[in-house]
Structure formats: C-alpha cells, structure tokens
Symmetry: C2
Amino acid sequence: MKRLLSAQSARALLVLASLAFVAHVFAQTDPLPSWNDGSAKRAIVEFVRVTTTEGSPGFVPPPERIATFDQDGTLWVEHPMYTQVIYCLDRVPDVVAKKPELKNREPFKTVLSGNREAIARLPMQDLYKILAATMSGMTVEEFNAEARKWLEAARHPRWNRLYTELAYQPMLEVFRYLRDNAYKTYIVTGGGQDFVRVYAEKVYGIPPEQVIGTAGGTKFVYASNGKPYLTKEPKLLLNDNNAGKPEGIHLMIGRRPYAAFGNSTGDRQMLEYTGAGAGARLKMLLLHDDAAREYAYGPAQGLPDTKVGTFTPALYDEAKKNGWTVISMKNDWKRIFAFE
Amino acid sequence: MKRLLSAQSARALLVLASLAFVAHVFAQTDPLPSWNDGSAKRAIVEFVRVTTTEGSPGFVPPPERIATFDQDGTLWVEHPMYTQVIYCLDRVPDVVAKKPELKNREPFKTVLSGNREAIARLPMQDLYKILAATMSGMTVEEFNAEARKWLEAARHPRWNRLYTELAYQPMLEVFRYLRDNAYKTYIVTGGGQDFVRVYAEKVYGIPPEQVIGTAGGTKFVYASNGKPYLTKEPKLLLNDNNAGKPEGIHLMIGRRPYAAFGNSTGDRQMLEYTGAGAGARLKMLLLHDDAAREYAYGPAQGLPDTKVGTFTPALYDEAKKNGWTVISMKNDWKRIFAFE
C-alpha cells in the first residue's frame, strides 16, 4: 500500500488536529464568553481552578464555597436611580389614596407634584420616609404581588426595557460558572431584601433564601377568621450597607465568603471581610467606565453622586493596595446585556 | 421432560416470590426504619409522596420544598436543662476570671457557688444576664472555638454521652428522607443561632446558613494591624421563639415551609404559619411520653416546667383541632438514639 504521508507529516498533522480540537473544546466550554481576555477574567478562572482542584493548597470543600454579590451597579444598572427608589416613588399615589392625610405633607407632596428636579433633590431622610411608607403596612403577600406587577411593566427610560432585562450578561455567566463549580451564590444588597427577592430567582437564578438585604421587621398576626399572616413593619432590622454587609453575612450565612463582588464604598467592608480569610479569596470591584454602552462614574468619571455608596478614589486606592481586581466595564466586557 | 410443578403451582410460587421480593425491597428501602408503623410515620411518608409526585395536586416544585425543625426537645434531648444553658453556666468562671468585678454580683455569685438548687431557681432575667455575658464580648472565631471545645468534652449526666450524641435517630432519618426528596431542611430554634451552628453540620447535616436561631448582633471592627473581624455584641436581633419563629423564617428564608416539626408552645406559631399555606402541609409535634427511654413531660405527664416553651394541654387541643400530627415518642419510635 502506497504511503500517502511520511511519518513526520502524519505526526505534524496529528499535532495540528489535536490543537484544533483543544481550541474547539475550549471555545465551546469557555464559561465566560461575554468577558474579554484580561486580568479580570483570568482572576475569576484562576480562583475557580485553585479552590476546586482537589489536592491544591487553595482547595475549598464544597459546603464552604460561598460567593456574595452586591446588586445595584454590580449585577444590574443603578443609574440614573436605584430601581427600588423608582418603585417607591411610583407607589406614593396609591399610599396617599389610602392615607389622604399625607397628601399635603412632605416629602409626599413633592413626590405627588411630579417635579423631577425637586424629587431628585430630596434629602436622604425624606427618601427613608418614602421607603418606610411604601415598603411597610401591608402583608408580605400583598407587597410581593404589588412589586411583581410593577416589575412586569416599568421600563428604564434609556433602553425602554424592563428593569429586570438590565442585568449584566457577564455577571450572569459568573453566577453559572461558580454554581457549576459548587459555589453557593448570594446577593448581599443595600436594597430591600423583600423587594430583591421578588425577582432574584427569575433574573439571577438566586432563591429568596440566598438574598440578604436591608430588612425591615415583620409581625405575626391573626386575621378575624383565626388565620395567621405576616405584616411588614416600619422597623429596621438590618441596614445591609457598609459594615452591615459582613454583619448581615454572618447573621444569614454564618460563613465567610471566598468570593465577593461589589462596585462601591457600600461594598468595601464585605470585600475586606472576604479578603481577611485564609486561602485564595476573590475580591472584585466593577468600575463603570463605559458611557457609550452604559454609564461612566467613579474614580475617573464625572456623573454626580446621589447614591448611598460610590466608587471613590480612596476605594480605588484600597483595591490596588490590597490586590483586589478592578473590572473595567469598557475593557473587560465584550457584551453588557443579553438583549444586545 | 418431567414437569416438576403444575402451571398453577408455578404461578402461585411466582406470586409468592414477587411478594417476598417486594417486601425485601421495601424493607431495604424503608426510609424511616426507627419509626414504628403508625399514623405519625404514615403522615410523613404520605406528605412526601403527595408533594413530590409530579402531576399530583399537592406537587411542590423542588425550590419551594422547605422543612423547618425546632431543635431542643424536637431533635435532641432538652432535659434536665437546655444544653446551651449548661454551656453558659460552665463558662461563668472564665468570664468572671476576666471580669473580677462580677464575682460578687448576682446572678454570677450564685452560679459560682455551685449550689444546683439555687441555680435552678434563678429567674429568667438572670439567665438572660448569664447568656449575654457568656455569648458576647468575643470574636466570632473565639466563640466558635470555645463552644466546639466544650461540646467535645461535656456529657449528659443521665447517659454519660456527649450532648451531640443525644440527637434522636428517628429525626435524623426524617432529615435524610426529606433531603433525598429535594427538601431543604432548616433548624428554627429558640437557642442561640451561633451556638447551634457550631455542631449542626456534624450532628444533623445542616449547614450554618440553614440554622435560624435567636441571634445577637455582631460588630465589624478593625484590629490594630488593620485586619477586620466581627465581635459578638450583647444586642438582641431576633428572639426566635413563638411569633419570632415565623418572623425569623421570613427574614432568613423568605418562603413559607411545607413541613414543620416542634414540641412546645414555642413552636406553635411556626406550625400555624406552616399550616396556613395552601396545599399539603405537614405539621408535627413531638410528645415526650417515654420516661423509661427518655423523659415524660407535657399534657399527660408530670415533669416540672422550667423552660421557655412546653407542650401544654391547650397546644395539644389545638393540634387535634387543626389536624396536626402528634408523635408519641413511646409508641412511634422504635429506637431513640443511634447508640442504642
């Protein structure tokens, strides 16, 4: 039989074919396809490799694999205003209809006026009054139903999309990648725990018991027919911002996370707490530096800060000093939204 | 060939063999071997069948399968005193050594006297002082290490066994059975959340994040080297008893349980809340009516009640009225402890 190839050529072809095969498999199984190759993507992949490779010095037993994520500005768009604040402002007319005595009282009067600039200027304590009035005083089921109805209709002015469509595709891939590697993924948000729970399962695949947020108390009461139910009370149990994040993590999880993602000073203590644990720990901060595709704000940018937390220059310095990874939305993300 | 059996005999033999095989398989796969056949065992098996059979009107999607369990007196022995109270009393000498000013102050003075009868007579507010002094004022890690050390040595006076060996074998089987059917099992205890978390994973297979208990606050602080840590504060965040149980369930899980197990008035609201949900719900109360193998107390018994909650006659009546299942330790449990 005539030889079609020399042994050498055959070997070379085999090597080429193998390389092509490996590249093909890699392309198929890239767990983070919306991420550009770069230090951020490499940090995530390396962290997963080290903590899940048995025998590796950084190996973490599966029950201890906890990853925590801030929500607003880390998992979805937080500009021009937190979605929950928009929800609460939208609820004011209904609340005033039930309690007409609020109609001429501030800050409700300003909200009812519809004057966007005046509303944007409301101080934080007025916003808290609006949050308390619209997030309490009903049963847990009533609140869930109202929030769900709103979320199915309200749209972001810039994209004309439902707010729930504005989740970041690269972060959804991180969720899946971590879960495929036995990580339990938690949201740890300054936002209202009950509000985020309404959509977290559908949007992020995160069940209610893995949503930690700013939480008000509930009260167990009986209806006149003897049936018990829970009402939402205007009583703050957990302010899940800043130091409240590690405190909330201890309260609700009882383990220190191995990975934490944030985007502002509100997440600083969560990242510090994560980083203070032994072994490999992933600490990541998302930098909004993409005015074209999303927004640019933070250290090098110019958007006005009207929010609880922001990515300050001091936080940027701390990240650099402690070896946290800064994700550049502009450079690290190939695609931002699933609908793109 | 000579026929050894008539067709009729062969058929009869086949039926017998099949029955023997089915019985064998059933015996092998009985998920609750420490339970006697009876209404309690049947209620559990039927609940699991109904809620996990696709197409059944009572079917519950796996993410919603939540089961909650009281701990003291439901999962392990609570007499003559809650294990945690014994722990706190044992810790008093160490606390006084660090704060000598407590030495001559009540209730510490009485505890240090070693007078068991006087200690047993301490009123509830004195017990709270002891709990606060021994469960706070240290880092989370220090507390865990102390509690772990104690649990590895302290023994129950009656059985001379570690407290952690006094978990009820039938309940461990319920845990496994429910988990095998995609139920997420939670402890919802009036005991200290951090204390129970120290051993719940090893004893019950329940991770820290699935232990809800009476919880004090923590505080995020920095050591002089800049490393952050959490200290346990003498501030009550959640009193996880009575109405605090459903309120704690909402705070920490955010879903209504489909199954709940308790043994006292402290569990009443949790069972009522569970029962108020739609569909099949399992509500079970353990009655301690076995003085020979464990203890007898509650509706028909005589042990003095020095506890937070007890199985009162009124609770027994409510259970009967609402169709809750009462588990008789004496009649429903074939075996109580794994070491028997």
